[in-house]
């Protein structure tokens, strides 16, 4: 079981969270000016990163707040958690060597 560090509630089990997909997908400034293809690209096309990926998470089983996180899509390891709406941190901390998740309780 992965534990995720909720910025409000501390480390909680993955089952309490809801995945929100890729972070930093900006709403088009003028949606009316977009072609169908551009609109479809905004709606449905997402990165398929192998490695560090910025994504949105919601602590739906707890405080119900959204936040952003950087997760390695290969190892599932979370390297950073930061508030929704703030820019992606430039240098996310290096991954720990151990196989333990970076955050965790003691269960």
């Amino acid at each position: 079981m992965i534990q995720i560090q909720c910025p409000n509630c501390g480390p909680r089990d993955e089952t309490e969270f809801h995945y929100g997909g890729q972070a930093h997908v900006a709403y088009p400034e003028n949606p009316d000016a977009l072609s169908d293809e551009e609109w479809a690209r905004y709606l449905f096309y997402r990165e398929n990163t192998k490695g560090q990926f910025a994504e949105r998470w919601s602590h739906s089983g707890g405080c119900r707040k959204w936040f952003n996180a950087i997760r390695d899509t290969v190892t599932y390891r979370f390297s950073a958690v930061y508030p929704a709406g703030s820019p992606r941190p430039d240098n996310a901390p290096a991954q720990p060597d151990s196989n333990d998740p970076i955050v965790g309780g003691t269960k």
Partner: protein, 211 residues
């Protein structure tokens, strides 16, 4: 133009005897499921507690006015419960709190609404939203650990802590009121399922321990 007239709709007769709580039909089953002794665990429903939901930004003018009306501070982070003037306030989110009290819900809601009036936020009577289960006894932690993702060991989950979490996949507020005492607040529509889930989890403690 027809003049609008306000109709007095407040019930004048006491209808509390007609109310039935979300787990009232399980009262007998709960009683049967209780066990005493060193491995004992007891479950009961505490019906009709007054609960008022507050949405207000912490440290705002509205929050200060609510704190004054409540007679206690709003909790400032997760897990914290503040109490005063017969009311307990549970932290649900950075801007969301649950007031629990034995007072008349309409009176408390009105008093808090008047306190917040003109400030951003909301005060809503949520007394019918959730019911209260009380789980007591030496085995109560073992029962909860079957379906709660939190670490409930006393070194982590201390007395007086209340958190939003899941028990048996049901979203609840879990409040540890004593060393072996828990209060569980499921939404009314989950009360039947969670009540039966708890009975099932309690069943093993009826039998003597086997090695």
């Amino acid at each position: 133009m027809a003049e609008l007239t306000l109709v007095e709709t407040t019930a004048t007769q006491d209808i509390s005897a007609l109310r039935s709580s979300p787990a009232a039909h399980l009262a007998g089953v709960f009683e049967e499921a209780c066990t005493q002794g060193a491995r004992g665990v007891q479950l009961r429903e505490v019906p009709f507690q007054t609960m008022v939901g507050l949405r207000v930004a912490q440290d705002s003018d509205g929050a200060h006015r609510l704190e004054e009306a409540l007679g206690t501070l709003l909790p400032d982070r997760h897990g914290i419960v503040t109490a005063g003037s017969g009311r307990s306030v549970i932290w649900l989110a950075p801007d969301e709190f649950l007031v629990i009290s034995a007072e008349e819900s309409a009176d408390l809601t009105k008093a808090l609404q008047e306190a917040l009036y003109g400030h951003p936020g909301s005060v809503i009577d949520l007394s019918a939203n959730r019911t209260t289960f009380e789980l007591n006894g030496p085995s109560s932690r073992a029962v909860l650990e079957k379906g709660c993702p939190l670490d409930l060991h006393p070194r982590i989950f201390k007395e007086g802590t209340a958190v939003n979490t899941n028990i048996g996949h049901v979203p609840v507020v879990l409040w540890k009121t004593g060393a072996e005492n828990y209060r569980i607040y499921p939404r009314a529509s989950f009360a039947d399922y969670l009540g039966r889930w708890l009975i099932d989890a309690m069943a093993e403690f009826k039998a003597p321990e086997t090695n």
